[in-house]
């Protein structure tokens, strides 16, 4: 199928700003799904609130646009009820890790077979450019006129520590790589996390004088390096991209099936 066969063209044009990276994530995700040969009826996409979350309106799957931060909790209900379905949860950085931080770590702890895609543009875009838990220090935002003093999470380390069994990072500059890691994340059995560094030229770029969208994408190219590269040793400031965790571990819904067998057998 062509990419457009996965889209709800009726609902275009989309609401994202010119230069926004979210469309690249959408494209990478659809190409991954196409390569995996998944049927549209077998995919449930669940999102929360924010620019990133509006992605679900544009795709021709079973789509659930929920409330701020809680997408993974809704997705957990869908997945446990129907484990044969493929669950993909696109979230923004504030959505996933500020208001949704608790659900993020608990979904990882359960290792439930859901793919979380965190579209990290380091800003709350929909509300007009406030700093997020991923902004990092010394960043300008509409709620940080004197620059941020709040340290940021490292999504990869957080996901790993919480128990995610697949963790990767990519960027909107590395479109091919992005699509490939999303494909691997969906294929992975267990809780998988893909952090996508993406650009918000309207708020983050403008407030922090990084430049327009092409310059922000170039920033992603210049400030990232493949995981374990020599460049990282020479310049610790670089952000690594690639697959950080890819391990096999008992998956929640499969363990639940075993629990049902135990309950039916009368043993506890």
């Amino acid at each position: 199928m062509a990419v457009k066969d996965y889209l709800r063209e009726r609902f275009f044009p989309h609401l994202w700003c010119p230069g926004c990276g979210h469309g690249e994530v959408l494209g990478g995700m659809i190409r991954a799904i196409e390569r995996l040969g998944l049927k549209k009826n077998d995919i449930v996409m669940v999102s929360g609130i924010g620019c990133s979350s509006r992605i679900v309106g544009y795709v021709d799957f079973h789509t659930l646009h929920t409330i701020h931060g809680r997408a993974l909790a809704f997705a957990t209900g869908v997945k446990l009820a129907r484990p044969e379905l493929t669950l993909i949860v696109p979230m923004g950085d504030g959505d996933a890790l500020a208001i949704g931080g608790n659900h993020f770590i608990h979904a990882a702890r359960r290792n439930i077979d859901i793919t979380a895609i965190v579209m990290n543009n380091r800003i709350y875009g929909m509300t007009g450019g406030q700093f997020s838990p991923l902004s990092g220090i010394n960043v300008s935002a509409t709620t940080a006129p004197f620059k941020t003093i709040d340290k940021s999470f490292d999504i990869v380390e957080l996901a790993r520590a919480a128990g995610a069994t697949f963790v990767a990072r990519s960027t909107t500059y590395h479109a091919q790589h992005l699509s490939e890691v999303i494909e691997k994340a969906i294929r992975h059995k267990g809780f998988s996390v893909v952090e996508v560094l993406t650009q918000c030229p309207t708020y983050f770029g403008r407030k922090n004088r990084i430049g327009d969208a092409p310059e922000m994408v170039k920033w992603l190219k210049d400030h990232t390096t493949p995981v374990g590269s020599k460049a990282k040793q020479e310049n610790p400031e670089l952000i690594e991209r690639g697959i950080f965790v890819d391990i096999e571990a008992p998956e929640y819904c499969e363990e639940y099936s075993k629990l049902v067998e135990r309950a039916r057998g009368g043993s506890r």
């Binding site: 669940v46 309106g57 659930l64 809704f74 209900g77």
Partner: protein, 382 residues
Amino acid sequence: MGKTVKFVQGNEACVEGALYAGLNFYAGYPITPSTEIAELLSLKLPPRGGKFIQMEDEIASLCAIIGASLTGCKVMTATSGPGFSLMQEALGYAVMAEIPCVIVDVQRGGPSTGIPTHVSQGDLNQARWGTHGDHAIITLTASNHQDVFAMTVEAFNLSETYRTPVILLFDEVVAHMREKLILPEPGELHTVERLKTSVKEGVDYHPYLPREDGRLPMSDFGGVHRYNVTGLVHDMWGFPSTEPRVVHGLLRHLVDKIENRAHELARFKEFHLEDADIVLISYGSSARSALHIVEERRRRGERLGLLELQTLWPFPGDVVRTRCARARAVVVVEMNMGQMVPWVKLAVERPDRVFLANRIDGVFITPADIHNILRIIQGRGV
């Protein structure tokens, strides 16, 4: 074959009612005095192939059951005041997206952590207006275990019929008290199954286009119809809209589908109302003490009656008005600071004759408490 008779807590009666109604997905978080519901379902759901999950908080619990409901499951969660407060945003989501689900709030004393192991009926108006924005809600309650069972079945039935969350507002006394429960045979009580769309694969399915009778047939996630569900104001496809005509139409639909049916949604019991000149109005465990005093006074020839409300929301104003038409006095018996009184005053013709008999100290309201109020109303002093 004899009927199955059990000696159980109210929380277990609720569990039995839910399973009878077809509950097959429960998500929850431990909280007194509702915890037995989760404990019992963790034992009873898995052998039936049902799903039980203990979530990280009450917010996630309600979110998870909403997700499961969309796949076609009959779903429930249970909590108490603090957890019910946390659930309010997701409750509004279920109202807006029209997702059938049942939420049990076993009331404790509040506000805040309050008095977790003691009785109160202080969440009455939270059940009505806890979530933000104009909306309608169905809330049921019961005073004894047979009725807890029946109202729990009813909650599932109404949530399926009207595609809406239904709140079961129980209280600590009913939840923890033990008494007899006779389990109805399968088929003895009516159960409503999910109304599924008859639209065939390949034909445009409009998830939010009501049929002529106002009902919205559903299509399970994972089925042949792919559509969008959102908490934003949405059109008949479930796609966000800010079109004034769409906004107005959706809000009217959400409220009217319940408020316009207040009369047919009213569940209540009448005791000695035919000639009562003093009508007690009560609900939940308070109604037990109210009934006690009505029967005691009747034996002495006094004309007392009891209207026990089981549907709390939408408020059954017509029922209250007609049953109180001949009363010299109406006494609302509840364990809060009079949360139902304004609604009763709005319903009756003589609001100045509406009084409150209450307790707010975490102690169960006794017949003696009501007796004292009645003596004051009657000008006889305590």
